[in-house]
């Protein structure tokens, strides 16, 4: 067993798996350039850039995008606060019910989205909460907490507890310690967690359909467009741009956690 050389079958299986993952996505990219508007002729009869211009001038796309960005941004901020607090509590102290807390945090992502969705939906209707940006945020923040939590816990685990003690030992009170030691050490983990949470919220449909009422986030817009298309390539342009744009936080997360033992985006 010479550990630096992979067997051929493994190489083939891994490459095959990655191809399986990527070819369908590339397809969408190709269709963003097709000249055929109504149906999906393959191969595309011709290629054009006009759909980018068309997309640019579609106000519904911009509205959906704005809502999605707003929802994702607010959810990310909430998730950052809640996830970090929870991670701090769980990793710094042992207390009764610690396990229960981590289970509670994992639950929204471990239970299917429909469950979260319909639960929130029925709670809204019982409590007579009208649909708004905030009802969407409520759902998104709930399952984004775990992303931040996972990243923060992993970082807390790596940052030795004695750092905090060292800081207090050197005269810093808890708030000074927070500012001078904890925050600088947590920063990249939180940025990574925040970026991943943003990406997760930005792409979420299943819970959103239940909590959005009549509002359209970008994924809901896409769902609508895919089913009742007006200009199909526009959907593909949006999809492609969204895919490329979400890659930025992912790449960022990679470069921020490179060389650490933690795999960014784990446990999404």
């Amino acid at each position: 067993m010479h550990s630096d050389r992979a067997p051929l079958t493994l190489k083939l299986a891994a490459a095959g798996g990655l191809l399986f993952l990527h070819l369908p996505i590339l397809l969408i990219f190709v269709y963003a350039f097709t000249t055929e508007e109504k149906s999906f002729a393959w191969p595309p009869p011709g290629l054009t850039l006009k759909w980018f211009a068309v997309t640019w001038h579609r106000p519904d796309v911009w509205e959906a995008l704005a809502l999605s960005v707003r929802v994702a941004a607010i959810s990310t901020v909430l998730a950052l606060i809640l996830g970090t607090l929870c991670a701090a509590a769980v990793s710094r102290t042992r207390f009764f019910g610690r396990e229960t807390i981590s289970l509670l945090v994992i639950l929204p992502i471990a239970l299917p989205g429909v469950v979260t969705g319909i639960a929130l939906r029925s709670a809204f209707s019982l409590a007579d909460v009208p649909f708004s940006t905030w009802t969407i945020v409520l759902g998104h923040a709930t399952f984004c907490v775990v992303i931040v939590y996972n990243n923060a816990v992993a970082r807390f685990r790596r940052t030795s507890g004695s750092l905090i003690e060292a800081s207090m030992d050197l005269g810093a009170n808890m708030f000074q310690t927070l500012r001078h030691v904890i925050m600088p050490n947590m920063a990249t983990a939180l940025v990574v967690g925040g970026m991943l949470a943003f990406a997760l919220s930005f792409d979420e449909v299943i819970v959103t359909t239940f909590t959005a009422g009549q509002q359209q986030t970008l994924p809901i817009w896409m769902l609508e467009e895919l089913v009742r298309p007006r200009e199909r390539p526009v959907t593909n342009v949006v999809a492609m741009v969204v895919a490329l744009v979400t890659m930025l936080p992912i790449l960022g997360a990679y470069y921020l956690t490179r060389g650490t033992d933690q795999v960014a985006g784990q446990g999404k």
Binding site: K38, S39, F40, F131, G213, Q214, V227, R228, P229, R230
Partner: protein, 361 residues
Amino acid sequence: QMTEIGEGEGQLSIVAWAGYVERGETDKAFDWVTGFEEATGCMVSVKTANTSDEMVALMNEGGFDLVTASGDASLRMIAGKRVQPINIDLVPSWSSVDDRLKDAPWHTVDGVHYGVPYMWGPNVLMYNTEAFAEAPTSWNVVFEETTLSDGESNAGRVQAYDGPIHIADAANYLMFHQPELGIEDPYELNADQYAAALDLLRGQRELVSRYWHDAFIQIDDFKNEGMVASGSWPFQVNLLQADNVPVASVIPQEGATGWADTTMLHVDSENPNCAYMWFEHQLSSNLQSDLSVWFGAVPSVPAACTDGRGMQTQEGCDANGLAQFDKIKFWKTPVANCESQDECVPYYRWVSDYIGVIGGR
């Protein structure tokens, strides 16, 4: 009940069937919303529903002003007090409504009107003209396995509607082919009749690859999935033909089920003034005429066929079934204490049994 129409509230939200409320987004020529908005200042938003059940659910949930409910939904909403009585005196064009619709039982209860008729039409048999050398004459092409004129079986190439109301289509078929069952009304079935209809549908399950649920998905399936025959609405036929897909439609010998839709006002509507403005608009403007062309339906205002306010013509109205009113069995909600016999299978059983049939039970 309203007694007078005040200032418009500036907005109006409508639950409607796909294609029912167009603002020229799919085809610029078909737009009966922009004018309304300009005239009244009521900005219209539309929520598309695919089935009557969905409409009922949306209205139960609330937040909408109007709904274009079919007969199988309207009575449920009236019974559930989700819609309010309409003061027809506030709708000046009421008199122009087709007399056959004015007091139709699906929106009139104890003489009280609960809506304004919108549009009606048949559920047609849509077929692919390349698979069918001649127009099919019977619904059997979607109920029983046969070899089509292109030499291949219809198995896997037909669709059926993904809503429990499709049981009525089966009953309608049996009414013609098995008179011994004694079906008088496809929406009023006793246990035996109902069982026979389900059996027919179980046989159909073998032929159907996927049930259609959404008009646009059906359009896709006829384009990309090799579908050749299905119960459908004229709307899909029109759009497919516009895309040069070789399809046509027919009302076969068994007759057809159909829909007669009524615009109804939510009991808690926050925009009743705009809603009454819409009632008048739907009867008096180009809407009836253009929509009947666009959707392939029959206007509730017969004059719309001829008076040139929109695109529709007398021939068009005839083609869409103007004269067939009596042959169409309009959708209505099956209830236990039915009129034609002692006891009928109620709608909730239709719902769960149809899920079972699609699931292979």
